[in-house]
């Protein structure tokens, strides 16, 4: 068979026709384009693919419910490589080539800080899970288009201080993983703790990827603390706790929930983890939205949804955004949609737990308050959430929630 001009034209035309074919009921309105910009590789890789997948899952859910304001959601995914330079190019590509209307799910503070100027220039929204306080205020968040679905590291630190007071600890020391998040936690603790007129006995910042942290641990234990407050991640926490246990140190631990989790207990056993206090923003675990998220996460990643708190956040990002689009009505631009985000997520409205539920309530003319899978999702004037913090004690290998701290 010879390929002549006509054949090529026909092939091209049919390919075009396929691409342009209306998909379901969404033929008329232009799709709302979402850029899923997640840390699929690099330091964020334990979370990134789950975060991306939950964006797709939530988008499927929204589209199955008929889309938002008649618009289908469409996702363009890219990898930040947890690296600001790569993230900048990825964001440029999403903005320029894919013409996205919002970027969802940037993870580390460095990446979000590098991406947010581009978002401001392009007049689109950024929803991120980074902890750095600088992301709340101008110049970074000059237009108020940035939303943080994670508690700031500072808030975590304040929660740690509340817990230390409540548990009656007098002689705390801190250990922090040397990155913005780790140090943010312990600095936040120190600030809140010293504001109460107390003193921190020892502070150690350690480098990542060490086979042993004995030297750092000895330095901290030399101050004879009664509790060690950690700004840490799972791999290093595993080693530090094991070495502390082996040395027979009699000390308690306050550790962020992403490090003190079931995987830690599995790695160390019940005895070494007994009495560890694990603090996490209260994922709305009892909520219907969490159940939906959990089911989607188990299906995609064959793991419980609670193992990736950031994936719950990206899931919530899509639902919140879709509800805001729905509330803003057809043809709304970024500014109108942005104006609706607090309206659909903050209190003084009927609590809703899914997009479909919210859509129905909005159609009935009601005010709604989306309660997310990651937290109750109420945004302050900076676009930050202030979740409540659940205080879990590890007893006999189980994470047992004793109480909730509000800050």
């Amino acid at each position: 068979m010879t390929i002549d001009r006509r054949t090529i034209l026909q092939a091209g035309a049919s390919a075009l026709a396929l691409g342009l074919a209306p998909q379901g009921a969404f033929a008329q309105a232009e799709a709302y384009r979402i850029g899923a910009l997640n840390p699929v590789t690099g330091a964020g890789s334990p979370y990134g693919s789950g975060m991306a997948e939950m964006i797709f899952a939530a988008v499927d859910e929204v589209n199955a419910a008929g889309g938002a304001a008649g618009r289908r959601l469409q996702v363009f995914a890219d990898d930040t490589q947890t690296n600001p330079q790569s993230a900048v190019l990825a964001a440029k590509k999403l903005i320029e080539v894919n013409k996205v209307n919002a970027i969802l799910g940037t993870w580390s503070s460095g990446v979000s800080l590098a991406v947010i100027p581009l978002v401001n220039d392009a007049n689109i929204l950024l929803m991120h899970t980074s902890g750095a306080p600088a992301l709340s205020t101008p110049p970074a968040n000059a237009k108020g288009y940035g939303y943080r679905f994670q508690a700031t590291n500072d808030r975590f630190g304040r929660a740690f201080a509340e817990i230390a007071v409540k548990e009656g600890y007098k002689r705390p020391a801190t250990m922090a993983f040397n990155n913005a998040s780790g140090i943010g936690n312990t600095q936040g603790f120190k600030k809140a703790w010293e504001a109460k007129g107390n003193k921190v006995l020892a502070e150690v910042v350690y480098e990542p990827n060490q086979p042993s942290y004995r030297a750092e641990l000895q330095k901290v234990l030399a101050a004879r603390p009664d509790v060690i407050v950690m700004g840490s991640f799972l791999p290093d926490t595993t080693i530090i706790l094991r070495e502390a246990f082996q040395s027979g140190a009699n000390v308690k631990w306050i550790i962020p929930g992403w490090a003190a989790n079931p995987q830690l207990i599995r790695a160390l056993g019940n005895e070494a983890t007994e009495g560890v206090i694990s603090v996490d923003s209260v994922a709305n675990e009892q909520s219907a939205s969490f159940a939906r998220y959990d089911a989607a996460y188990r299906k995609g990643q064959s793991q419980p949804g609670a193992s990736n708190v950031y994936a719950a956040m990206t899931y919530d990002m899509v639902i919140t955004l879709a509800l805001a689009i729905e509330a803003a009505g057809p043809g709304a631009g970024t500014a109108q949609i942005n104006a609706k985000i607090r309206e659909v997520a903050n209190p003084a409205g009927d609590k809703v737990f899914s997009f479909a539920e919210g859509k129905t309530a909005l159609a009935a003319g009601k005010k709604i308050n989306y309660e997310g899978a990651s937290s109750v999702l109420d945004f302050d004037e900076f676009g930050d959430v202030t979740p409540d913090f659940g205080v879990f004690f590890i007893t006999k290998g189980q994470l047992e929630r004793r109480y909730v701290v509000k800050i």
Binding site: A52, K92, D121, A132, N178, G182, I183
Partner: protein, 295 residues
């Protein structure tokens, strides 16, 4: 689309400066520098600190970055007198990691792991116009570097460093002192890397220590190996090729949506690795040929 292409070209041009520096050091002089990113980092941080905390004009930061990077190369050059080949490579690798750790620890100056946000842009403004101006500026720096490079190659200095690369003992036997030339070459390459770092900081607008990992050095190595060692055209083509690999995968994802992001990341790295293997088998002299092909 244009703005994205311009962004890629700007980043490419920034990397070309790095490649030119390494071409000078390895391609012409045979110094295996595995610590190129250290000088890049010094330039970036000098520009970042002076233009934010120091509120200096951007030009001051760029020049300071070049000078500091050049100065930092002198002790490395002194080490180079005693070490050759792989031993020197290890020292330079250690140097770049040392730079990164110093920046991580000296929080009072560098804000440590938090990084320095809000570094002013080279040219302020939104849209294609300012972006093109930035590209023109970085491109201009590239042209200056290329002119300087050409002059070096054609000078007695250039013949000397190439002689050092080809047979250092013969150079010594002729009564020449290779050490001095090696230091000079290291300083020159470092100055280029420092300038590149300054542009990088002002373009990305945010620097933190984890942007200056050894992978950056090896990207530059990949670029000059694919392009052709010891040639300007090699540095240019190799860097373009590398950016093509790194950025092209983003588009591949849109075309082949069934490939997951994790797989795509592996494919990207795998493709670069495969290209390197194929190059070493079928075209070890690089796409443009190495210095032996130079007229």
């Amino acid at each position: 689309m244009e703005a994205y292409l311009i962004a890629i070209l700007i980043v490419t041009a920034i990397y070309v400066l790095l490649s030119l520096g390494l071409t000078l050091q390895y391609g012409l002089t045979g110094l295996i520098n595995f610590g190129h990113v250290g000088f890049f980092c010094i330039g970036a941080y000098a520009a970042a600190i002076l233009s934010t905390a120091g509120s200096m004009p951007i030009a001051v930061g760029l020049v300071a970055g070049m000078l500091l990077a050049g100065l930092a190369a002198i002790p490395i050059g002194l080490v180079a007198l005693r070490l050759r080949d792989d031993y020197f490579a290890i020292v330079t690798l250690g140097f770049s990691e040392t730079v990164r750790l110093v920046i991580t620890s000296e929080g009072w100056l560098t804000k440590g792991v938090q990084g320095i946000p809000g570094i002013p842009k080279l040219i302020d403004g939104v849209g294609t116009g300012p972006a093109l101006m930035i590209l023109a500026l970085v491109g201009f720096a590239n042209i200056l570097a290329v002119i300087a490079f050409l002059r070096i190659v054609k000078s007695p200095f250039g013949r000397m460093i190439e002689a050092i690369r080809d047979n250092e003992d013969a150079v010594k036997a002729l009564g020449k002192d290779p050490a001095r030339f090696k230091i000079q070459v290291l300083v020159l390459g470092a100055v280029l890397a420092g300038l590149s770092g300054g542009f990088y900081a002002h373009y990305i607008g945010y620097v933190s220590p984890d942007q200056f990992l050894p992978i950056v050095t090896f990207y530059v190595w990949m670029a000059i190996i694919m392009g052709g060692v010891g040639r300007i055209s090699g540095a240019l083509v190799g860097t373009l090729l590398l950016m093509g690999f790194l950025e092209g995968s983003r588009f591949l994802r849109d075309l082949l949506p069934f490939i997951s992001a994790v797989e795509m990341a592996s494919i990207r790295i795998g493709a670069v690795g495969l290209a390197l293997i194929l190059f070493t088998i079928y075209r070890p002299q690089g796409l443009m040929g190495d210095y032996t092909r130079r007229k």
